[in-house]
Symmetry: C2
Subunit: 144 residues, 2 copies
Amino acid sequence: MVVRDLDEALDVVRREGHRVTASRRLVLEALLSADAPVSAEAIATGLDGRLPSSDLASVYRNLETLGDLGLVRHIHAGHGPGRYLLAGEQDREYLACESCGRLEAVEADALADVRAAIRELSGFEARFSHFPIVGRCRDCARGG
Amino acid sequence: MVVRDLDEALDVVRREGHRVTASRRLVLEALLSADAPVSAEAIATGLDGRLPSSDLASVYRNLETLGDLGLVRHIHAGHGPGRYLLAGEQDREYLACESCGRLEAVEADALADVRAAIRELSGFEARFSHFPIVGRCRDCARGG
DNA sequence: ATACTTGCAAATGATTTGCCAGTGT
DNA sequence: ACACTGGCAAATCATTTGCAAGTAT
């Protein structure tokens, strides 16, 4: 399910028997306009005022609903709150820098060798889509 | 700092100007007798009654103190509480199965190739010692 | 009209902190 | 003695849940 624009996503919502509400629209607009995964809190405040705001509990409920519909997913990168993103970027995974907090996007294919190397160890199937690889990005590794 | 027995660890505690107390002893004994990383809660209950119990807040404070002394470390494996272990197993890292919850220990060396492959991507230095690799173990991957 | 949703408050789980009485050294 | 600790309650952070009032269909 690749989400490219708001109407397409709202169609899915309606088609699956859910209602199109302001809160739901906000969540999708926020994710559509964000250039990186964002927290539920950030969505609830309308990305700091750039969009209308909504109740945090409703945002969480809607993130879950939209997740069930396959429109949204989220990642847990190190400490801090979960970060949500559109499922459209299904083939994109992240490297989380524990120093500067940035998420570095990589194509899932690029991690194929990594997954294979881990599978060799004991048949373990690594999944980085929900719990990304944590470490230090190039800049932070160089710095301190 | 490789911890092999209680007295050795307590010597470090004293040497660094900290006091040897029942709660501190409990934390170390629990970690010494556990065969896998355990939660603060499990330590506070004396591994379910096998050892004397202690206040949860004290356990957390002691885990932090012992961590500062380099005697203890902890990992965040998927959802759920953090799991603590002796720093003696410094060279041991874990693969966390999100299906059955088990932690599979692997020698850090075994992940050298994995780390190298990730470094190739963008100079990112992966660190699995604090946020382990999450996925499904061989048994769960086969099952469902 | 009516089931799905919202907003607000209260509950949860993990962890932290304030405070004062207790105790290693 | 005295600063370091422990116990207990209350605070925090992220997230979930209960419930009555609101609204999309």
